[in-house]
């Protein structure tokens, strides 16, 4: 009897049914409905369709004509690079530095991880105040150093930088924690042996820490690139409607804009399909590039 409970898979299947149904209702059904809606004429969210759009591929053809799609794709790719280099790169630096300090490790871990627990919308509002044109923190600071003219941190030329800086800052702590855990798993004996051989700290990092962190860095890179595709709330809070001049749209914010603001739900659905396809392709590419290796 005792052994039979491991052979009988029915109870496990029964327990899986609720989660399976949940996924069907709240993920797969909306997903396929979204594809269906991208071929319909729907103006408002929840609104009834006025029939199939003519021609049926109109929304997908429109993506090639729509300059904002190009802008949002370009910005999303830049965002991926920023997250890869800025978030993961910065996290590696911080993790290695914190790993090398003797005191206050816990304190630094908490400090760097803290932005993760703050809502992105709240962070967006916070950074809005920092980058505010008139009486913003940054402009006031520059004023104390003698600058007389205000800088519009959200102007066309630098808006993208202003948007990506807080996004990068927010998630550094997330990768930092993963990497520092990876560093903790490296045996102290290796470092002791390197010390006896006369290695400098930089050599220890170069020849021990980084090679042994490779798989962790790969995991972080995959998470960062795929995560960049989903960034929405902070950019939207700081730069609603792609402000200024629709130059700050990301794929996610542009899809939201078309759906909620421009009242073009069918086109928003088509953009959502594009995001899914893009996410699928990019995750495959990134997985191939950052393939984990066995030691």
């Amino acid at each position: 009897m005792g052994a039979n409970i491991y052979k009988n898979k029915k109870p496990a299947l029964i327990f899986m049914i609720p989660a399976f149904l949940f996924m069907i209702v709240y993920l797969y059904y909306p997903f396929f409905m979204n594809i269906f809606n991208s071929f319909q004429q729907i103006k408002t969210l929840g609104g009834t369709s006025k029939g199939m759009i003519d021609p049926w591929y109109w929304n997908y053809a429109e993506m090639f004509r729509d300059v904002n799609v190009g802008v949002s794709l370009k910005n999303t790719l830049i965002m991926m690079l920023v997250t890869l280099l800025g978030q993961v790169g910065m996290a590696i630096l911080l993790a290695i530095m914190v790993d090398n300090v003797k005191h206050l490790k816990g304190f630094f871990k908490t400090v760097y991880f803290f932005p993760i627990v703050v809502s992105a919308t709240a962070l967006g509002l916070l950074f809005n105040l920092i980058f505010l044109y008139d009486k913003g923190m940054l402009n006031q600071l520059l004023e104390t150093f003698g600058r007389t003219e205000l800088i519009d941190w959200k102007a066309e030329g630098i808006a993208l930088f202003t948007m990506m800086l807080p996004v990068m800052w927010q998630y550094v702590g997330f990768y930092f924690v993963i990497l520092i855990t990876g560093l903790n798993n490296i045996s102290d004996e290796l470092y002791e042996a390197a010390y006896i051989d006369g290695c400098t700290t930089i050599q220890k990092v170069r020849y021990i820490s980084l090679p042994l962190l490779r798989n962790v860095i790969c995991t972080c890179s995959v998470l960062a690139v795929t995560g960049a595709l989903k960034v929405f709330d902070l950019p939207w809070t700081m730069f609603p409607k792609g402000m200024p001049l629709k130059t700050t749209f990301l794929t996610g914010t542009y899809m939201y804009y078309q759906t909620m603001e421009a009242k073009n739900v069918d086109y928003g659905s088509a953009l959502a399909v594009l995001i899914v396809v893009l996410g699928f392709v990019l995750s495959k590419v990134v997985n191939a590039i950052f393939k984990e290796t066995d030691y």
Partner: protein, 467 residues
């Protein structure tokens, strides 16, 4: 017919200014603000009770109510007090999901109707924005309500209740009207040597004044073109039309006044009269520039009076903390005119009202409560509290007590008494997605990335495609 309506509306507005000083015994502490009013006389209270009498529900119910009396709306506190008073009087409760009036709010309401989660009572626009749920038969007409409750909204002048664009029936019972005009920061005008614009103010005068203000180191116009260009959009078009034809939407092919209006805004942008960050700023930021004495002119609606007054208070929630000297720096006047539109021809009217939804009407527990709620909110005692310095549709306006108003409200009343016409906003007829190319697209128009002709034509094409 339109002229008669304008005259009626203007008349009603002037009469109802009187109402501002009166209040209702709301059972709560509605006596602390400038617009708070005294308890009605006994006979008035009896009349109000008569209106409500047939509408009392058998057992307490919870009504879901959505309005725009929230956020910075000057009537947010009045609404809360009135809701509390109605709940105390009837024993019912209200689940209030009011929100600031913007495009997101409109989308939310329309989506709620389409998904079957609409509120029981709704305070919403009576123009094209309401077409979808009226077409779907999801709200109840005034005639239908009166068939069962003959006294419902009997205190209203029916001629001033807007007809639906869908079927010509009346659905929304109005409370307070609105006007759009030009607020001035006199501190800035004085510093630049510019006097308060008057009734004969033209666009040429305006441009000359803007240049003086700019030369004096101030920003002439407080407006976030990348966020809320709505008021400038409306008046720029109006300036190339007249009150007689402003509400006519041009054809796509026409070289319309709309294109000329967009180009007028572009000219002001190129002259550098908008804030340096007008394309990247929010409306809150440019409004702060105005109230903090960095910008001179602000075109906005009557609801902004409350916002300016709040900006002059050390505690935005406490009217007793108002800095009267600071408030005296603000004035309100006519929007510069051009061509056939005189400066005194303003945008305004009764664009919103209370709807009772079919969902509440068909619910035997909620029908009477919904009628009672709307009757209370549109009673002779409550409407004056909300209408303040704007119009209402009441048949009998109460007497005025100007001592109950702050200085900006009195200036607004004086300004409105010189109005030659009030015309509705054409953007209320021009549904959401049509506006995208000229509202969200305003930065592209003023920077020349998209021509005004193309942007207007695309918006109009969207409009006619949807007809």
């Amino acid at each position: 017919m339109k002229k008669a309506l304008v005259m009626l509306l203007t008349g009603a507005m002037v009469l109802s200014l009187a109402a501002c000083g009166n209040s209702v015994d709301d059972g709560a502490d509605a006596s602390t603000t400038d617009t708070a009013v005294e308890a009605p006389a006994e006979d008035e209270a009896d009349e109000a009770a008569e209106v409500e009498a047939p509408a009392e529900p058998a057992a307490p119910v919870e009504l879901n109510v959505t309005t725009t009396f929230a956020g910075e709306d000057g009537n947010a506190a009045n609404f809360k007090a009135a809701v509390d008073a109605w709940c105390a009087e009837t024993g019912n409760t209200v689940a209030d999901t009011s929100a600031t009036s913007d495009e997101t709010f409109k989308t939310r309401v329309i989506t709620d109707f389409e998904t079957g989660s609409e509120p029981d009572v709704l305070f919403f626009f009576n123009g094209a924005d309401s077409n979808s749920f009226i077409e779907a038969g999801k709200v109840v007409s005034l005639d239908e309500i009166r068939a069962e409750y003959p006294d419902f909204a009997s205190n209203m002048n029916d001629d001033l209740i807007a007809d639906s664009l869908v079927d010509g029936k009346k659905y929304a019972i109005p409370v307070n009207g609105y006007w759009e005009a030009m607020f001035c920061n006199m501190e800035v005008l004085n510093a630049a040597g510019v006097s308060l614009p008057g009734a004969n103010y033209t666009m040429d005068d305006f441009k000359a004044d803007c240049q003086k203000i700019k030369d004096a180191g101030y920003t002439p116009i407080a407006c976030a073109l990348g966020n809320i260009p709505h008021y400038w959009w409306e008046f720029a078009i109006f300036n190339n039309q007249s009150p007689a034809n402003h509400l006519e939407i041009p054809s796509v092919e026409e070289d319309s006044a709309w294109v000329a209006g967009m180009n007028d805004i572009k000219e002001l942008y190129e002259l550098g009269y908008f804030p340096d960050n007008t394309l990247s700023a929010t409306d809150d930021e440019t409004f702060a520039m105005f109230t903090e004495g960095k910008a001179a002119f602000l075109i906005d609606g009557s609801w902004k009076v409350g916002g300016i007054v709040a900006a002059c208070q050390t505690d935005a929630e406490d009217a007793s903390t108002i800095d009267q000297a600071k408030l005296s720096n603000f004035d309100v006047t006519y929007v510069p005119g051009k061509g056939d539109r005189k400066a005194t021809d303003l945008i305004g009217g009764l664009s919103m009202g209370y709807y009772i939804t079919k969902k509440a009407w068909d619910d035997p527990d909620k029908r009477a409560a919904a009628v009672s709620f709307v009757s209370y909110m549109t009673s002779d005692e409550i409407i004056p509290v909300f209408a303040q310095h704007t119009a209402s549709a009441l048949k009998n306006a109460p007497t005025v007590d100007e001592t109950k108003f702050n200085s900006l409200q009195i200036k607004a009343m004086k300004m409105m008494s010189g109005t030659t016409s009030l015309t509705g906003a054409v953007q209320d007829l021009f549904q959401g997605d049509c506006r995208v190319t000229t509202f969200d697209g305003m930065p592209e128009i003023v920077t020349g990335k998209v021509s005004a002709e193309d942007a207007v034509a695309e918006g109009l094409q969207t409009y006619y495609d949807a007809q």
